[in-house]
């Protein structure tokens, strides 16, 4: 595929979105909706508002740069075309997510981004580390995606619509809804896993197994921001509560510190950048949690600025790797002489990351501090967390953007060389854009930021960005931050020395879970499905009977009224004989006695039929019972004697189960006969038997007339059984008879 043709897709989209800046800034909302599942009220619908536009510009713009970059970076890779396909598919999924105007549309594109991420992380599928990282990212974000699906369904049902515009207007309804907390937790689970928040942060550094363009695009600039997007999107309706505030600020703050602290302990450029990305995502979560207009503005600005400087730094890391053969900062140095454009890009991006004047990062950091200083609760604690995180970020920025390019080359075996235009232009452009925003913050704020902030805050917020605010507390903290960052940077050897053992992380928990799940499944399977039918029978019958017992006891309206025992002596004797027969059949160790006992039970039941007006049943029962006893006796001498096979313990257990089943059945009958009977069916049969069926024996008329088809089925069953019996009694064929 021609690179120009390929690039025209994201560039064309970028141009189109850029043309929409004006209309969207004036408050227009572009919407397209196609009915999809009309019966469920689901539509394939898209809307372009300020928030979506900001994301769409980042996605298409950085996407174009990454495609250009990859055409050189992966030029000798056998699967470059596959890579381009994945990236374009990912871009489409991302655009679908951020432009979705319907919950279901949003979810489907959300999952598609996770799928594309899986394919791209595992792009070098021949390497085990890549496969493992891809699988890990898929499982973590996939699990979060399931939670998100549940949250979205609850959300849609609470509002009664899956249309985003309707939902965004139902904030008061949702915040006071009884399902608010479950919805919030489920949605946040989706957002936190996607945006690598603690304790799900570990998949993001793992995802660095992907080729560097992928890391730059998916795992810093766009996809990992989807969780932030989700929180931002729903903050007008879910935000503003104490649970929102506490949950987001604590998780965000923790992630911010953890990511920044881990970043300066790494020596691999990509790992440093990955951990600072975790840290930046924590900052964004923290800011969205604060939820003040100021914090929202800071979040949106930081989001854009971070996407620019971080993609630039990732791409320079790739260029360094490409041009020198390593990404280890302990071996690199002085690359500014051999690849000056890359060094320029890295320097500008690192300055923006460190929050230096006059870059966009400076404005973002000032706003960040201003927002934390005006936080709705414990502003000093939150500012302290922000300060610590920012100082570490300054140190990490120096590690990634300064150290490899200045000074002298530490490993003299390396032979760095200049890289071509396609490797240095893509990182330079976003870095320069950061400078441009720093010079023209007001225009950027008015055109792009204000519409996005208005969407997130749920109301128009005046956004007035300026590079210089005069001497104020924020500036003071900024200066101290820089000083602390420089101090940390000078102590880098100390931190990096310490990092010999990997240390504990929630990743171990993931590994434990991953290994434990099949073992648990194995245990359950070998317990419940051990291949012995009688245990299946016990479990199935036991469960059914237990459920029945539970229903019997819970639905009881008052105590069970036992019907008064009545009946004459011969009826009682029959009952006792049946019971004695059953007991005998159970306990005897003689096969013949068991058959006789079975016969006693059968004839006893037939007697009951006679006594209570069922002569047809009795006749059938007598015939059948006789037949089966003959059959038993015929077959029995070919069968082994009864032996005691089970241990006393398992016999006792079976007795308890059997008696439990028996008692529940007894209670069931008691309960059933104490309810009034509605005999309409029987009355109808009694009345219609003679006129309609021309017979006076109603039971017979039912069988051969009213329900004749059933009887035909019954005869068929018998015929099939007879065929089976015949087939099995036939002498074995010669082939089988050899054994």
């Amino acid at each position: 595929m021609l690179p120009a043709l390929l690039l025209s897709i994201p560039l064309g989209l970028f141009a189109w979105f850029a043309l929409q800046i004006g209309p969207v800034a004036t408050g227009q909302l572009l919407q397209v909706s196609v009915p999809w599942l009309p019966s469920l009220g689901v539509a394939l619908s898209f809307r372009l508002d300020g928030l979506g536009l900001l994301f769409a510009l980042l996605i298409t713009g950085i996407g174009a740069l990454v495609l250009l970059y990859a055409s050189s970076y992966l030029h000798d890779h056998p699967h470059l075309k596959r890579f381009n396909g994945f990236i374009l598919a990912f871009m489409a999924a991302m655009l679908g997510t951020v432009l979705a105007g319907d919950l279901i549309t949003l979810f489907i594109f959300w999952e598609l981004t996770g799928l594309c991420s899986f394919l791209l992380i595992g792009f070098d599928y021949q390497q085990e580390a890549s496969r493992r990282a891809a699988f890990q990212a898929l499982l973590v974000t996939g699990a979060g995606g399931l939670a998100l699906l549940a949250g979205i369904i609850l959300l849609g049902q609470s509002v009664g619509s899956s249309d985003l515009t309707t939902i965004l207007n139902s904030g008061d309804l949702l915040r006071s809804h009884s399902l608010y907390l479950p919805i919030l937790i489920l949605m946040l689970a989706g957002a936190f896993t996607k945006s690598a928040q603690f304790p799900f942060h570990f998949w993001l550094p793992g995802a660095m197994a992907a080729p560097t363009p992928v890391s730059a695009y998916l795992h810093s600039a766009t996809m990992v921001k989807l969780g932030i997007f989700l929180m931002a999107r729903f903050s007008p309706v879910l935000g503003g509560t104490d649970s929102w505030l506490i949950c987001l600020t604590s998780v965000g703050g923790l992630t911010l510190l953890l990511g920044a602290a881990k970043a300066i302990q790494r020596t691999d450029l990509k790992q440093i950048l990955a951990w600072t990305t975790v840290s930046a995502l924590g900052m964004l979560t923290l800011l969205l949690g604060l939820g003040t207009p100021l914090a929202t503005t800071a979040a949106m600005l930081l989001l854009a600025v971070h996407a620019l400087y971080k993609s630039s730094l990732f791409l320079t890391a790739g260029a360094v790797d490409h041009g020198s053969g390593t990404r280890d900062i302990r071996r690199l140095g002085g690359l500014g002489r051999t690849m000056p454009q890359v060094a320029l890009a890295a320097g500008l991006a690192a300055l923006s990351m460190a929050g230096m004047l006059p870059l966009a990062g400076f404005i973002a950091k000032e706003l960040f501090y201003e927002a934390t200083l005006h936080a709705p609760y414990s502003p000093w604690l939150i500012t302290a967390v922000a300060f610590l995180g920012n100082s570490l970020t300054v140190a990490a920025a120096l590690l990634a953007g300064y150290l490899p390019f200045y000074g002298t080359l530490k490993d003299t075996e390396l032979h760095p060389h200049q890289v071509d235009l396609r490797l240095w232009l893509p990182p330079l452009l976003p870095a320069l854009l950061g400078l441009l925003i720093g010079f023209f913050p007001a225009a950027f704020g008015r055109l792009l930021l204000a519409p996005a902030v208005a969407q997130v805050a749920g109301k128009p917020v005046p956004v007035e960005l300026a590079l210089w605010h005069g001497f104020n507390p924020m500036l003071l903290i900024s200066v101290v931050t820089l000083g602390a960052g420089l101090a940390l940077f000078s102590l880098r050897n100390h931190f990096q020395m310490q990092r010999q053992s990997p240390g504990w992380d929630t990743e171990q928990l993931y590994d434990l879970l991953l290994a434990g799940l099949p073992r648990f499944a194995d245990m359950i399977t070998s317990y419940l499905q051990n291949g012995r039918l009688r245990y299946y029978l016990m479990i199935v019958t036991g469960t059914a009977v237990a459920l029945m017992a539970a229903t019997l006891f819970t639905s009881s309206t008052g105590t069970l009224q036992l019907p008064r025992p009545d009946g004459s002596l011969h009826e009682w004797l029959t009952a006792v004989i049946i019971l004695a027969g059953a007991l005998m059949a159970t306990l005897t160790d003689s096969r013949l006695a068991a058959v006789a006992a079975l016969g006693v039970v059968g004839y006893g039941v037939a007697l009951i039929y006679i006594l209570f007006g069922a002569p047809d049943l009795a006749m059938t029962q007598f015939c059948i019972e006789t037949l089966s006893i003959i059959l038993f006796v015929l077959v029995l001498h070919k069968l082994p004697r009864f032996t005691l096979l089970s241990s006393t313990r398992s016999r006792l257990r079976d007795m308890v189960i059997a008696l439990g089943v028996g008692s529940v059945m007894t209670m069931l009958v008691w309960r059933a006969v104490s309810q009034p009977l509605i005999p309409s069916l029987s009355t109808w049969f009694m009345e219609q038997s003679l006129p309609a069926g021309h017979g006076r024996n109603v039971v017979n008329v039912i069988l051969v007339d009213f329900r004749a088809l059933d009887t035909l089925g019954e005869i068929t069953v018998l015929a099939v059984a007879a065929l089976g019996v015949y087939a099995m009694l036939k002498p074995r064929s010669g082939k089988e008879g050899t054994d």
Binding site: M538, A585, G602, L645, V669, L729
Partner: protein, 126 residues
């Protein structure tokens, strides 16, 4: 009398269940037969008992005012008895054939060859 028959039904179910979960497949057949009788008797009893008045229409076609036995459960049971016999006969011949093939009526010993090694370790009665 219903309350007494309820106890009989419970007893039959208990005995049938106990025999069904024996290791010996021969005992299983006995259990099956007892469970069949128990189920029939349950349907019969739940349809209420009426002494000595079968569901017959008198020759003149005029129904008497006295209650007669319910024909619907009887029709159901009649079918069940016959089907039950079919199942029982089939099962009986089946286990005879199984016994001839495998040489044991103990379910835990009936294993295919490749299962044999695996099962030996688990032979401990649970």
């Amino acid at each position: 009398m219903e309350s007494m028959l309820a106890v009989v039904i419970g007893g039959l179910y208990a005995a049938g269940m106990y025999l069904m979960v024996r290791r010996s497949i021969v005992k299983m057949i006995f259990g099956l037969a007892l469970l069949g009788n128990a189920a029939n008797l349950l349907i019969f009893t739940v349809g209420r008992l009426t002494r000595g008045r079968p569901p017959h229409v008198p020759a003149d076609g005029v129904l008497s005012a006295l209650p007669v036995a319910d024909p619907v459960p009887q029709a159901l049971i009649l079918t069940a008895i016959v089907i039950g016999f079919g199942v029982q006969a089939f099962a009986l011949v089946l286990i005879k054939r199984v016994y001839q093939t495998v040489g044991s009526d103990d379910q835990d010993v009936m294993v295919t060859e490749n299962q044999g090694q695996e099962k030996l370790g688990q032979e401990e009665e649970r």
